[in-house]
Symmetry: C2
Subunit: 187 residues, 2 copies
């Protein structure tokens, strides 16, 4: 009793974690519809019924899998906003499984779509606050969708033309485009 290797609660916590990790990976790879409870259980090496026991249903499992902490970012200025977006590219080229899972299903699963919209809207707000000019909100939205397109093309569609470039090359090529949007337009 002096060395209770693992308490029940602890064991349970670990099993739950294993299931969630497996779920994230499969949702990220195949999307909501093509991911089965059975497959998740198989990958986590637990019984399918246990997955239901822990998460209730597939929808809640998905909800837990795509939930993640989001760091709050302070508003600054146009140049900083550009560099901030470019900086996320390092992250975006190896997105956390939770984000990938959400992105993979955002076009075909209602809840994932909602989460994606909310997340993108927050980013638009954040960037927008750092930009000058009348149409800051639209330009911020364009900057955000540019990053979205890049992520989709690179991470989800795995386009060769992007895969064969280094992060630095992409950042360097993209910077002038984002700068053009960050500056109040001459249009």
């Amino acid at each position: 009793m002096t060395e209770p290797a693992l308490t029940r609660a602890e064991r349970r916590r670990r099993t739950e974690r294993r299931i969630l990790d497996a779920a994230r990976e499969l949702f990220a790879e195949r999307g909501f519809e093509r991911t089965t409870i059975r497959a998740v259980a198989g990958a986590a090496e637990v019984d399918p019924a246990l997955v239901m026991q822990y998460f209730g249903n597939k929808q809640r499992l998905f909800g837990e899998a795509v939930r993640m902490a989001r760091p709050a970012e302070p508003a600054t200025g146009p140049d900083e906003a550009v560099e901030h977006l470019l900086g996320t590219l390092g992250v975006k080229m190896r997105l956390p499984p939770a984000s990938l899972a959400m992105l993979r299903s955002m076009l075909t699963h209602p809840e994932a779509a909602t989460t994606a919209r909310e997340s993108l809207s927050r980013q638009v707000e954040h960037v927008s606050a750092s930009l000058p000019g009348e149409d800051a909100r639209l330009r911020a939205a364009l900057m955000t969708t540019i990053m979205l397109g890049l992520t989709v093309g690179h991470q989800l569609l795995e386009l060769e033309e992007l895969r064969e470039a280094s992060r630095e090359e992409i950042v360097a090529a993209l910077r002038p485009a984002l700068r053009a949007l960050a500056a109040p337009g001459t249009h």
Copy 2:
């Protein structure tokens, strides 16, 4: 016999067309997995078995639904390439159902993913041929994914921030960004 209102072949052609139109709309709206043969048949007001009779299986129905004519575009110069891309925005804000159907499923359906990759690669090649500079291919890829992100955000996710802007505003705000990519970089 002088007025055969509709030949068998003609009737069949029309029914097939009705099925395809219904399929495109549903695939565009819900994606491959969430679209059922039954729903397609219902929308086209035919028997589900008839859909199978005509198209064999769901996969082939999808294949026919997303197939579409693609106009060949001549290569020109950087400015023309930019204006060409911006010009497609008019189209992209009301994409043909076949394209929408393909895009909707591109992240979760293997065949749609392949079609999307091929289509994007063609566009990269086309734009790339019009650009000067060492890294024309990468810059063309970025321009293409920018348009992809915009389409996804606007048409599929229906982001408010984009929806509330007019085509002209978007074009005007986006032009400098694309121009920055079209010019051989100072990076």
